[in-house]
Amino acid sequence: MAKTTYYVPIGPIHPALKEPIRVEAEVEGEKIVKVDVKRGFAHRGIEYMGMKRNAIQTLYLSERICGICSISHPYAFVIGSEKALGIEAPHRAQYIRPIIAELERIHSHILWLGVIAHEIGFDSLLFWTWKGREKVLDVLELITGNRINYSMYMIGGVRRDLKESHIKALRDMITYYWEFTEHMKEVFLSDPVYKARTRGVAQVPKDMALKLNLVGPTARAAGLRMDIRQDIPFDAYADIDVKAVVPQDIVGEARGDAYDVTMVRIYEIEQSLDIIEYCIDNLPEGRILAIPNYIALLNKIKKTEGEGIGAYEAPRGEVIHYFRYDGTRDGPSVWKVVAPSYNNINSWGYCLLGAEVADIPVVVAYIDPCMCCNDRVAVVKDSTGKMLDYSYIHKRAIEKTRMLEKELGVRR
Protein backbone atom coordinates (compact mmCIF):
# COMPACT_ATOMS: atom_id res chain seq x y z
CA MET A 1 0.00 0.00 0.00
CA ALA A 2 1.32 3.42 -0.92
CA LYS A 3 2.13 5.79 1.93
CA THR A 4 -0.32 8.64 2.36
CA THR A 5 0.63 11.93 3.93
CA TYR A 6 -1.78 14.00 5.97
CA TYR A 7 -1.99 17.75 6.30
CA VAL A 8 -2.06 19.06 9.90
CA PRO A 9 -2.86 22.75 10.18
CA ILE A 10 -2.06 24.20 13.61
CA GLY A 11 -3.38 27.66 14.36
CA PRO A 12 -3.77 30.55 13.90
CA ILE A 13 -5.88 29.95 17.03
CA HIS A 14 -4.82 26.82 18.92
CA PRO A 15 -4.51 25.80 22.59
CA ALA A 16 -0.75 25.21 22.23
CA LEU A 17 -0.19 28.75 20.94
CA LYS A 18 -0.56 31.79 23.14
CA GLU A 19 -0.74 34.13 20.18
CA PRO A 20 -1.92 33.70 16.59
CA ILE A 21 0.42 32.05 14.09
CA ARG A 22 -0.16 29.19 11.70
CA VAL A 23 2.08 26.13 11.38
CA GLU A 24 1.14 24.00 8.39
CA ALA A 25 2.65 20.55 8.67
CA GLU A 26 2.46 17.54 6.41
CA VAL A 27 2.84 14.27 8.32
CA GLU A 28 3.65 10.72 7.41
CA GLY A 29 2.48 8.69 10.38
CA GLU A 30 3.97 10.56 13.35
CA LYS A 31 6.78 12.13 11.36
CA ILE A 32 6.64 15.64 9.92
CA VAL A 33 7.84 15.71 6.30
CA LYS A 34 6.98 19.24 5.20
CA VAL A 35 6.33 22.42 7.11
CA ASP A 36 5.43 26.04 6.39
CA VAL A 37 4.80 28.90 8.82
CA LYS A 38 2.37 31.73 8.12
CA ARG A 39 2.60 34.90 10.18
CA GLY A 40 0.84 38.23 10.16
CA PHE A 41 -2.41 37.48 11.99
CA ALA A 42 -1.87 40.41 14.34
CA HIS A 43 -0.14 42.80 11.96
CA ARG A 44 -1.32 46.36 12.45
CA GLY A 45 1.42 48.34 10.71
CA ILE A 46 2.89 50.02 13.78
CA GLU A 47 5.90 51.24 11.75
CA TYR A 48 3.53 53.08 9.41
CA MET A 49 1.74 54.65 12.40
CA GLY A 50 5.09 55.73 13.80
CA MET A 51 6.02 57.51 10.61
CA LYS A 52 2.88 59.67 10.99
CA ARG A 53 3.49 60.70 14.61
CA ASN A 54 6.12 62.71 16.46
CA ALA A 55 9.12 61.00 18.02
CA ILE A 56 7.81 61.04 21.61
CA GLN A 57 4.45 59.58 20.62
CA THR A 58 6.27 56.96 18.55
CA LEU A 59 8.48 56.08 21.51
CA TYR A 60 5.39 55.10 23.53
CA LEU A 61 3.98 53.31 20.52
CA SER A 62 7.19 51.26 20.32
CA GLU A 63 6.62 50.23 23.93
CA ARG A 64 3.40 48.55 22.82
CA ILE A 65 5.07 46.49 20.10
CA CYS A 66 5.71 43.60 22.46
CA GLY A 67 3.25 42.09 24.90
CA ILE A 68 5.72 41.55 27.74
CA CYS A 69 9.05 43.21 27.00
CA SER A 70 8.05 46.83 27.09
CA ILE A 71 11.64 48.03 27.60
CA SER A 72 13.34 46.27 24.69
CA HIS A 73 11.82 48.29 21.88
CA PRO A 74 11.98 51.72 23.59
CA TYR A 75 15.61 50.97 24.51
CA ALA A 76 16.55 50.32 20.88
CA PHE A 77 14.42 53.34 19.95
CA VAL A 78 16.21 55.77 22.27
CA ILE A 79 19.67 54.45 21.37
CA GLY A 80 18.96 54.70 17.64
CA SER A 81 17.40 58.14 17.98
CA GLU A 82 20.24 59.44 20.13
CA LYS A 83 22.74 58.24 17.52
CA ALA A 84 20.75 59.81 14.69
CA LEU A 85 20.19 63.10 16.54
CA GLY A 86 23.52 63.41 18.34
CA ILE A 87 22.13 63.55 21.90
CA GLU A 88 23.98 62.00 24.85
CA ALA A 89 22.06 60.81 27.91
CA PRO A 90 23.33 61.97 31.33
CA HIS A 91 25.49 59.46 33.22
CA ARG A 92 22.89 58.75 35.90
CA ALA A 93 20.33 57.87 33.24
CA GLN A 94 22.87 55.60 31.55
CA TYR A 95 23.01 53.60 34.78
CA ILE A 96 19.26 53.61 35.52
CA ARG A 97 18.36 52.26 32.05
CA PRO A 98 20.20 48.92 32.39
CA ILE A 99 18.67 48.36 35.84
CA ILE A 100 15.13 48.48 34.43
CA ALA A 101 16.18 46.50 31.36
CA GLU A 102 17.73 43.71 33.45
CA LEU A 103 14.69 43.58 35.76
CA GLU A 104 12.67 42.95 32.66
CA ARG A 105 15.05 40.23 31.49
CA ILE A 106 14.57 38.41 34.81
CA HIS A 107 10.78 38.49 34.56
CA SER A 108 10.78 37.50 30.91
CA HIS A 109 13.09 34.53 31.45
CA ILE A 110 11.08 33.27 34.44
CA LEU A 111 7.91 33.65 32.40
CA TRP A 112 9.44 31.52 29.64
CA LEU A 113 10.53 28.85 32.12
CA GLY A 114 6.91 28.63 33.26
CA VAL A 115 5.69 28.39 29.67
CA ILE A 116 8.08 25.58 28.73
CA ALA A 117 7.08 23.70 31.90
CA HIS A 118 3.45 24.05 30.84
CA GLU A 119 4.20 22.90 27.29
CA ILE A 120 5.72 19.64 28.49
CA GLY A 121 2.80 19.12 30.86
CA PHE A 122 4.35 20.22 34.17
CA ASP A 123 1.69 22.65 35.37
CA SER A 124 2.66 22.76 39.05
CA LEU A 125 6.10 23.94 37.93
CA LEU A 126 4.41 26.67 35.89
CA PHE A 127 2.58 27.97 38.96
CA TRP A 128 5.71 27.83 41.11
CA THR A 129 7.90 29.76 38.64
CA TRP A 130 5.26 32.40 38.00
CA LYS A 131 4.79 32.86 41.73
CA GLY A 132 8.53 33.56 41.94
CA ARG A 133 8.19 36.07 39.10
CA GLU A 134 5.81 38.26 41.13
CA LYS A 135 8.72 39.61 43.20
CA VAL A 136 10.42 41.29 40.22
CA LEU A 137 7.11 42.61 38.92
CA ASP A 138 6.46 44.20 42.33
CA VAL A 139 9.85 45.93 42.22
CA LEU A 140 9.21 47.15 38.68
CA GLU A 141 5.85 48.48 39.78
CA LEU A 142 7.40 50.22 42.76
CA ILE A 143 10.01 51.98 40.60
CA THR A 144 7.96 52.80 37.51
CA GLY A 145 4.34 52.61 38.70
CA ASN A 146 3.37 49.86 36.27
CA ARG A 147 3.71 46.11 35.96
CA ILE A 148 4.01 46.46 32.20
CA ASN A 149 4.46 49.42 29.81
CA TYR A 150 6.67 51.38 32.20
CA SER A 151 6.97 54.64 30.18
CA MET A 152 10.40 55.00 31.72
CA TYR A 153 12.67 55.95 28.83
CA MET A 154 12.97 59.21 26.95
CA ILE A 155 15.23 60.27 24.09
CA GLY A 156 18.21 61.57 26.08
CA GLY A 157 17.58 59.95 29.47
CA VAL A 158 14.91 58.45 31.70
CA ARG A 159 11.74 59.97 33.09
CA ARG A 160 11.88 58.83 36.72
CA ASP A 161 14.73 58.84 39.19
CA LEU A 162 15.75 56.03 41.55
CA LYS A 163 15.15 56.73 45.24
CA GLU A 164 16.85 55.22 48.29
CA SER A 165 13.76 53.10 48.98
CA HIS A 166 13.92 51.68 45.45
CA ILE A 167 17.54 50.69 45.93
CA LYS A 168 16.63 48.93 49.17
CA ALA A 169 13.86 47.00 47.40
CA LEU A 170 16.32 46.09 44.62
CA ARG A 171 18.82 44.71 47.12
CA ASP A 172 16.11 42.61 48.81
CA MET A 173 15.09 41.31 45.41
CA ILE A 174 18.66 40.34 44.49
CA THR A 175 19.00 38.25 47.66
CA TYR A 176 15.64 36.59 46.94
CA TYR A 177 16.55 35.64 43.37
CA TRP A 178 19.97 34.21 44.19
CA GLU A 179 18.11 31.64 46.27
CA PHE A 180 15.33 31.23 43.72
CA THR A 181 17.67 30.50 40.80
CA GLU A 182 19.41 27.80 42.88
CA HIS A 183 16.01 26.12 43.27
CA MET A 184 15.29 26.51 39.58
CA LYS A 185 18.56 24.86 38.63
CA GLU A 186 17.50 21.90 40.77
CA VAL A 187 13.98 21.52 39.44
CA PHE A 188 14.76 22.16 35.77
CA LEU A 189 18.32 21.06 35.12
CA SER A 190 18.61 18.09 37.49
CA ASP A 191 15.16 16.68 36.88
CA PRO A 192 15.31 13.42 34.83
CA VAL A 193 11.80 13.86 33.40
CA TYR A 194 12.52 17.39 32.22
CA LYS A 195 15.80 16.24 30.73
CA ALA A 196 14.17 13.33 28.91
CA ARG A 197 11.53 15.59 27.44
CA THR A 198 13.86 18.35 26.21
CA ARG A 199 17.25 16.75 25.41
CA GLY A 200 17.65 16.49 21.66
CA VAL A 201 14.36 18.28 20.96
CA ALA A 202 14.52 21.38 18.76
CA GLN A 203 18.22 20.84 18.18
CA VAL A 204 20.08 23.39 16.06
CA PRO A 205 23.84 22.97 15.51
CA LYS A 206 26.12 26.01 15.61
CA ASP A 207 26.72 26.40 11.87
CA MET A 208 23.00 26.06 11.16
CA ALA A 209 22.18 28.69 13.80
CA LEU A 210 24.50 31.07 11.98
CA LYS A 211 22.95 30.33 8.59
CA LEU A 212 19.40 30.65 9.91
CA ASN A 213 20.37 34.03 11.39
CA LEU A 214 19.19 33.05 14.88
CA VAL A 215 19.60 35.51 17.75
CA GLY A 216 19.52 35.67 21.54
CA PRO A 217 19.34 32.65 23.89
CA THR A 218 18.39 30.41 20.95
CA ALA A 219 21.68 31.20 19.20
CA ARG A 220 23.70 31.14 22.43
CA ALA A 221 22.35 27.67 23.29
CA ALA A 222 23.78 26.50 19.96
CA GLY A 223 27.17 27.79 21.09
CA LEU A 224 27.30 31.17 19.33
CA ARG A 225 28.81 33.77 21.65
CA MET A 226 26.69 36.64 20.48
CA ASP A 227 25.14 39.25 22.72
CA ILE A 228 24.62 42.90 21.82
CA ARG A 229 25.58 43.91 25.37
CA GLN A 230 28.96 42.29 24.73
CA ASP A 231 29.50 43.01 21.01
CA ILE A 232 28.27 46.61 20.74
CA PRO A 233 28.16 47.80 24.39
CA PHE A 234 26.27 50.95 25.28
CA ASP A 235 25.35 52.89 28.44
CA ALA A 236 26.54 51.20 31.65
CA TYR A 237 27.07 47.86 29.86
CA ALA A 238 30.25 49.40 28.42
CA ASP A 239 31.67 49.62 31.96
CA ILE A 240 30.69 46.11 33.00
CA ASP A 241 32.22 43.89 30.27
CA VAL A 242 29.24 41.56 29.93
CA LYS A 243 30.08 38.07 28.70
CA ALA A 244 27.64 36.06 26.59
CA VAL A 245 26.31 33.04 28.52
CA VAL A 246 26.92 29.89 26.47
CA PRO A 247 26.47 26.23 27.49
CA GLN A 248 30.10 25.32 26.68
CA ASP A 249 31.23 27.64 29.50
CA ILE A 250 28.84 25.97 31.96
CA VAL A 251 28.96 22.25 31.13
CA GLY A 252 31.70 22.07 28.49
CA GLU A 253 29.58 21.45 25.40
CA ALA A 254 26.75 23.08 23.48
CA ARG A 255 24.11 20.90 21.85
CA GLY A 256 21.66 23.67 20.96
CA ASP A 257 18.48 21.91 22.10
CA ALA A 258 15.58 22.93 24.34
CA TYR A 259 17.52 21.79 27.44
CA ASP A 260 20.47 24.06 26.61
CA VAL A 261 18.14 27.00 26.06
CA THR A 262 16.72 26.42 29.55
CA MET A 263 20.23 26.38 31.00
CA VAL A 264 21.24 29.60 29.20
CA ARG A 265 18.13 31.37 30.44
CA ILE A 266 18.58 30.34 34.09
CA TYR A 267 22.24 31.43 34.11
CA GLU A 268 21.33 34.70 32.44
CA ILE A 269 19.06 35.53 35.37
CA GLU A 270 22.14 35.33 37.62
CA GLN A 271 24.07 37.52 35.19
CA SER A 272 21.27 40.10 35.33
CA LEU A 273 21.45 40.12 39.13
CA ASP A 274 25.17 40.90 38.92
CA ILE A 275 24.56 43.74 36.46
CA ILE A 276 21.84 45.29 38.65
CA GLU A 277 24.09 45.05 41.69
CA TYR A 278 26.96 46.76 39.84
CA CYS A 279 24.67 49.55 38.62
CA ILE A 280 23.21 50.36 42.04
CA ASP A 281 26.64 50.22 43.69
CA ASN A 282 28.11 52.65 41.14
CA LEU A 283 25.10 54.87 40.45
CA PRO A 284 26.42 58.34 39.50
CA GLU A 285 24.77 61.51 40.83
CA GLY A 286 23.26 64.19 38.62
CA ARG A 287 20.57 64.85 36.08
CA ILE A 288 18.46 62.18 34.42
CA LEU A 289 17.41 63.97 31.23
CA ALA A 290 19.58 65.71 28.63
CA ILE A 291 16.73 67.91 27.33
CA PRO A 292 14.03 68.09 30.05
CA ASN A 293 11.71 70.29 27.98
CA TYR A 294 9.84 68.10 25.52
CA ILE A 295 8.89 71.00 23.26
CA ALA A 296 12.59 71.89 22.97
CA LEU A 297 13.36 68.23 22.25
CA LEU A 298 10.77 68.02 19.48
CA ASN A 299 12.06 71.30 18.02
CA LYS A 300 15.57 69.90 17.97
CA ILE A 301 14.34 66.73 16.25
CA LYS A 302 12.51 68.84 13.67
CA LYS A 303 15.74 70.63 12.74
CA THR A 304 18.08 67.63 12.77
CA GLU A 305 18.84 65.41 9.84
CA GLY A 306 20.44 62.08 10.46
CA GLU A 307 20.13 58.32 10.54
CA GLY A 308 21.12 55.68 13.01
CA ILE A 309 20.72 52.10 14.13
CA GLY A 310 19.69 51.21 17.66
CA ALA A 311 20.49 47.70 18.81
CA TYR A 312 19.57 46.19 22.15
CA GLU A 313 19.76 42.64 23.48
CA ALA A 314 16.17 41.92 24.55
CA PRO A 315 15.45 38.82 26.68
CA ARG A 316 14.57 36.90 23.50
CA GLY A 317 17.41 38.20 21.34
CA GLU A 318 18.50 41.30 19.55
CA VAL A 319 16.11 44.09 18.70
CA ILE A 320 17.20 46.40 15.89
CA HIS A 321 15.61 49.71 15.00
CA TYR A 322 16.64 51.78 12.00
CA PHE A 323 15.81 55.50 11.92
CA ARG A 324 16.02 58.33 9.49
CA TYR A 325 15.09 61.82 10.58
CA ASP A 326 14.86 64.03 7.50
CA GLY A 327 14.88 67.42 9.22
CA THR A 328 11.41 68.43 8.06
CA ARG A 329 9.16 66.88 10.68
CA ASP A 330 9.44 66.02 14.38
CA GLY A 331 9.27 62.27 13.94
CA PRO A 332 11.13 59.59 12.03
CA SER A 333 10.60 59.54 8.26
CA VAL A 334 11.72 55.92 8.10
CA TRP A 335 11.39 53.49 10.97
CA LYS A 336 12.17 49.81 10.63
CA VAL A 337 11.80 47.38 13.52
CA VAL A 338 13.33 43.93 13.66
CA ALA A 339 12.19 41.87 16.64
CA PRO A 340 13.96 38.69 17.82
CA SER A 341 11.11 36.35 16.88
CA TYR A 342 11.31 37.68 13.33
CA ASN A 343 14.61 35.80 12.96
CA ASN A 344 14.08 33.00 15.47
CA ILE A 345 10.94 31.64 13.81
CA ASN A 346 13.29 30.62 10.95
CA SER A 347 14.38 27.74 13.19
CA TRP A 348 10.91 26.14 13.27
CA GLY A 349 11.05 24.89 9.72
CA TYR A 350 14.46 23.35 10.37
CA CYS A 351 13.61 21.79 13.76
CA LEU A 352 10.20 20.43 12.81
CA LEU A 353 11.37 18.55 9.71
CA GLY A 354 11.70 14.93 10.76
CA ALA A 355 10.42 15.61 14.28
CA GLU A 356 7.32 13.99 15.79
CA VAL A 357 3.94 15.65 16.13
CA ALA A 358 4.20 15.58 19.96
CA ASP A 359 7.37 17.70 19.80
CA ILE A 360 5.60 20.60 18.08
CA PRO A 361 4.71 22.46 21.34
CA VAL A 362 8.31 22.27 22.63
CA VAL A 363 9.77 23.35 19.27
CA VAL A 364 7.31 26.21 19.09
CA ALA A 365 7.94 27.31 22.67
CA TYR A 366 11.73 26.93 22.88
CA ILE A 367 12.53 30.17 21.03
CA ASP A 368 10.08 32.07 23.27
CA PRO A 369 8.13 33.30 20.26
CA CYS A 370 6.40 36.64 20.46
CA MET A 371 3.81 37.26 17.80
CA CYS A 372 3.21 40.76 19.13
CA CYS A 373 6.84 41.60 18.42
CA ASN A 374 6.63 39.94 15.08
CA ASP A 375 3.30 41.40 14.08
CA ARG A 376 3.46 44.43 16.34
CA VAL A 377 0.25 44.88 18.37
CA ALA A 378 -1.08 44.26 21.91
CA VAL A 379 -4.68 44.50 23.12
CA VAL A 380 -5.77 44.12 26.79
CA LYS A 381 -8.98 42.24 27.52
CA ASP A 382 -10.46 40.90 30.75
CA SER A 383 -11.73 37.35 31.28
CA THR A 384 -15.11 38.07 29.70
CA GLY A 385 -13.51 39.42 26.54
CA LYS A 386 -14.36 43.03 27.33
CA MET A 387 -11.63 45.46 26.29
CA LEU A 388 -10.17 47.19 29.37
CA ASP A 389 -10.00 50.93 29.06
CA TYR A 390 -7.29 53.24 30.24
CA SER A 391 -9.08 54.71 33.28
CA TYR A 392 -9.88 51.30 34.78
CA ILE A 393 -6.32 49.98 34.39
CA HIS A 394 -4.89 53.24 35.70
CA LYS A 395 -7.12 53.14 38.78
CA ARG A 396 -6.11 49.55 39.53
CA ALA A 397 -2.42 50.39 39.05
CA ILE A 398 -2.56 53.29 41.50
CA GLU A 399 -4.35 51.17 44.12
CA LYS A 400 -1.68 48.49 43.84
CA THR A 401 1.19 50.98 44.02
CA ARG A 402 -0.25 52.55 47.19
CA MET A 403 -0.63 49.11 48.77
CA LEU A 404 2.96 48.18 47.91
CA GLU A 405 4.32 51.42 49.28
CA LYS A 406 2.44 50.82 52.52
CA GLU A 407 3.79 47.27 52.81
CA LEU A 408 7.38 48.29 52.14
CA GLY A 409 7.12 51.41 54.30
CA VAL A 410 7.91 53.90 51.52
CA ARG A 411 7.01 57.52 52.20
CA ARG A 412 6.17 59.67 49.22
Binding site: D36, K38, R39, G40, H43, G45, Y48, K83, E88, H91, Q94, Y95, L210, K211, L212, N213, L214, V215, L224, R225, M226, Q230, D231, I232, P233, F234, D235, A236, A238, D239, D241, K243, A244, N282, P284, I309, A311, I320, Y322, R324, S333, V334, K336, V338, Y342, N343, I345, N346, D375
Partner: protein, 186 residues
Protein backbone atom coordinates in the same frame (compact mmCIF):
# COMPACT_ATOMS: atom_id res chain seq x y z
CA UNK B 1 41.30 37.88 14.77
CA UNK B 2 39.01 40.81 14.27
CA UNK B 3 39.38 43.71 11.89
CA UNK B 4 38.67 47.36 12.62
CA UNK B 5 36.07 49.34 10.70
CA UNK B 6 38.79 50.99 8.59
CA UNK B 7 40.41 47.66 7.72
CA UNK B 8 37.04 46.21 6.72
CA UNK B 9 36.38 49.25 4.56
CA UNK B 10 39.78 48.88 2.88
CA UNK B 11 39.02 45.26 2.03
CA UNK B 12 35.66 46.23 0.55
CA UNK B 13 37.30 49.07 -1.36
CA UNK B 14 39.75 46.58 -2.90
CA UNK B 15 36.89 44.38 -4.09
CA UNK B 16 34.48 47.07 -5.19
CA UNK B 17 36.69 49.92 -6.36
CA UNK B 18 34.74 52.73 -8.00
CA UNK B 19 31.40 51.05 -7.29
CA UNK B 20 31.52 52.70 -3.85
CA UNK B 21 29.84 56.04 -4.54
CA UNK B 22 30.04 57.48 -1.05
CA UNK B 23 31.07 56.30 2.39
CA UNK B 24 31.27 57.38 5.98
CA UNK B 25 32.80 55.74 9.03
CA UNK B 26 30.61 56.90 11.90
CA UNK B 27 32.14 57.00 15.35
CA UNK B 28 30.16 56.82 18.59
CA UNK B 29 31.29 57.33 22.17
CA UNK B 30 30.09 54.90 24.80
CA UNK B 31 30.70 54.09 28.44
CA UNK B 32 30.76 56.26 31.56
CA UNK B 33 33.67 55.03 33.67
CA UNK B 34 35.67 53.47 30.83
CA UNK B 35 34.85 55.63 27.81
CA UNK B 36 35.56 53.98 24.48
CA UNK B 37 34.46 54.44 20.90
CA UNK B 38 33.02 52.10 18.33
CA UNK B 39 32.53 52.54 14.62
CA UNK B 40 30.05 51.74 11.89
CA UNK B 41 30.69 51.65 8.14
CA UNK B 42 28.02 53.37 6.03
CA UNK B 43 28.38 52.91 2.28
CA UNK B 44 26.44 53.99 -0.75
CA UNK B 45 27.17 51.74 -3.71
CA UNK B 46 26.22 51.36 -7.32
CA UNK B 47 23.34 48.91 -7.59
CA UNK B 48 25.12 46.79 -10.21
CA UNK B 49 27.81 46.01 -7.61
CA UNK B 50 25.31 44.79 -5.00
CA UNK B 51 25.98 41.07 -5.32
CA UNK B 52 29.75 41.64 -5.38
CA UNK B 53 29.49 43.74 -2.21
CA UNK B 54 27.56 41.00 -0.40
CA UNK B 55 30.08 38.36 -1.51
CA UNK B 56 32.95 40.58 -0.36
CA UNK B 57 31.37 40.80 3.11
CA UNK B 58 30.89 37.04 3.26
CA UNK B 59 34.55 36.60 2.27
CA UNK B 60 35.76 38.56 5.31
CA UNK B 61 33.68 36.54 7.77
CA UNK B 62 30.25 34.95 7.90
CA UNK B 63 28.13 37.95 8.90
CA UNK B 64 24.96 38.32 10.87
CA UNK B 65 22.13 39.97 8.97
CA UNK B 66 20.61 42.84 10.96
CA UNK B 67 17.87 43.87 8.57
CA UNK B 68 16.87 44.63 5.02
CA UNK B 69 14.61 47.59 4.51
CA UNK B 70 13.62 50.00 1.80
CA UNK B 71 12.17 53.44 1.40
CA UNK B 72 10.05 54.84 -1.40
CA UNK B 73 11.81 58.08 -2.43
CA UNK B 74 9.81 58.90 -5.53
CA UNK B 75 11.46 57.79 -8.75
CA UNK B 76 13.25 54.91 -7.09
CA UNK B 77 13.35 52.78 -3.97
CA UNK B 78 16.30 53.15 -1.63
CA UNK B 79 17.34 49.77 -0.32
CA UNK B 80 19.23 49.47 2.95
CA UNK B 81 21.05 46.29 3.97
CA UNK B 82 22.72 46.08 7.36
CA UNK B 83 25.18 43.38 8.39
CA UNK B 84 27.13 42.76 11.58
CA UNK B 85 30.65 41.36 11.28
CA UNK B 86 32.68 39.76 14.11
CA UNK B 87 29.60 39.44 16.30
CA UNK B 88 31.15 36.84 18.58
CA UNK B 89 33.89 39.15 19.82
CA UNK B 90 33.52 41.49 22.81
CA UNK B 91 33.60 45.10 21.58
CA UNK B 92 34.40 43.72 18.15
CA UNK B 93 31.15 43.85 16.18
CA UNK B 94 31.28 46.23 13.23
CA UNK B 95 28.03 47.13 11.49
CA UNK B 96 28.17 47.57 7.74
CA UNK B 97 25.28 49.42 6.16
CA UNK B 98 24.94 49.26 2.38
CA UNK B 99 22.59 51.61 0.58
CA UNK B 100 21.65 51.88 -3.08
CA UNK B 101 18.82 53.16 -5.22
CA UNK B 102 16.68 50.83 -7.28
CA UNK B 103 14.70 52.51 -10.10
CA UNK B 104 11.00 51.67 -10.01
CA UNK B 105 10.90 50.36 -13.56
CA UNK B 106 13.52 47.76 -12.74
CA UNK B 107 12.70 46.42 -9.28
CA UNK B 108 14.76 43.27 -9.31
CA UNK B 109 17.62 42.12 -7.10
CA UNK B 110 19.59 38.90 -6.81
CA UNK B 111 18.65 36.91 -3.70
CA UNK B 112 21.13 36.31 -0.91
CA UNK B 113 19.30 33.23 0.43
CA UNK B 114 21.87 30.99 -1.27
CA UNK B 115 24.50 32.45 1.06
CA UNK B 116 22.27 32.80 4.13
CA UNK B 117 19.02 30.83 4.45
CA UNK B 118 17.81 33.11 7.23
CA UNK B 119 17.55 36.07 4.83
CA UNK B 120 14.43 34.51 3.35
CA UNK B 121 12.14 36.18 5.91
CA UNK B 122 13.59 39.61 5.17
CA UNK B 123 13.38 39.19 1.41
CA UNK B 124 9.82 37.91 1.52
CA UNK B 125 8.81 40.92 3.60
CA UNK B 126 10.45 43.41 1.22
CA UNK B 127 8.90 41.61 -1.74
CA UNK B 128 5.34 41.87 -0.45
CA UNK B 129 5.68 45.32 1.12
CA UNK B 130 7.61 47.17 -1.60
CA UNK B 131 7.22 45.01 -4.69
CA UNK B 132 10.93 44.29 -5.15
CA UNK B 133 11.37 40.98 -6.95
CA UNK B 134 14.19 38.70 -5.75
CA UNK B 135 15.79 36.59 -8.44
CA UNK B 136 16.30 33.07 -7.10
CA UNK B 137 14.06 33.32 -4.02
CA UNK B 138 12.37 29.93 -3.72
CA UNK B 139 9.49 30.56 -1.31
CA UNK B 140 7.50 33.48 -2.65
CA UNK B 141 4.43 33.04 -0.47
CA UNK B 142 3.23 36.11 1.45
CA UNK B 143 4.78 36.42 4.89
CA UNK B 144 2.63 38.96 6.77
CA UNK B 145 -0.01 39.87 4.20
CA UNK B 146 -2.95 37.50 3.62
CA UNK B 147 -2.60 35.02 0.77
CA UNK B 148 -5.52 36.68 -1.02
CA UNK B 149 -4.05 40.21 -0.83
CA UNK B 150 -4.68 42.01 -4.17
CA UNK B 151 -1.87 41.84 -6.73
CA UNK B 152 0.14 45.00 -7.31
CA UNK B 153 -0.65 46.65 -3.95
CA UNK B 154 2.37 47.31 -1.76
CA UNK B 155 1.78 48.78 1.73
CA UNK B 156 5.16 50.55 2.03
CA UNK B 157 4.92 52.31 -1.33
CA UNK B 158 4.01 56.00 -1.38
CA UNK B 159 2.93 56.11 -5.05
CA UNK B 160 -0.11 54.82 -6.91
CA UNK B 161 0.87 51.24 -6.02
CA UNK B 162 0.42 51.99 -2.32
CA UNK B 163 -2.72 51.24 -0.38
CA UNK B 164 -4.21 54.75 -0.26
CA UNK B 165 -7.45 53.77 -1.99
CA UNK B 166 -7.73 50.72 0.28
CA UNK B 167 -7.37 52.60 3.55
CA UNK B 168 -9.50 55.62 2.81
CA UNK B 169 -12.58 53.82 4.14
CA UNK B 170 -10.88 52.75 7.36
CA UNK B 171 -12.77 55.10 9.66
CA UNK B 172 -16.16 54.62 8.07
CA UNK B 173 -18.82 52.09 8.96
CA UNK B 174 -20.14 49.62 6.41
CA UNK B 175 -23.43 51.53 6.48
CA UNK B 176 -21.74 54.79 5.51
CA UNK B 177 -19.81 53.18 2.66
CA UNK B 178 -22.99 51.57 1.30
CA UNK B 179 -24.84 54.86 1.51
CA UNK B 180 -22.05 56.59 -0.39
CA UNK B 181 -22.24 54.04 -3.14
CA UNK B 182 -26.00 54.47 -3.31
CA UNK B 183 -26.65 50.92 -2.15
CA UNK B 184 -29.42 50.11 0.25
CA UNK B 185 -28.23 49.64 3.80
CA UNK B 186 -29.47 46.80 5.84
Amino acid sequence: MTLTAEEIFDRLKEELGDAILDYEIKEYKTGVKKPRTYKEVWMEIDRSAFRRAIEAIFKIEYPHLHFITGEDIGESIRMIYSFGLFHEHPWGEVSIIIKFDLPKNELILPTITDLMIGAETNEREIREMLGVEFDGLKNKRHLFLPDDWPEGKYPWRRDEYGVDDMIKHTHKSVKEIREERGEQSG
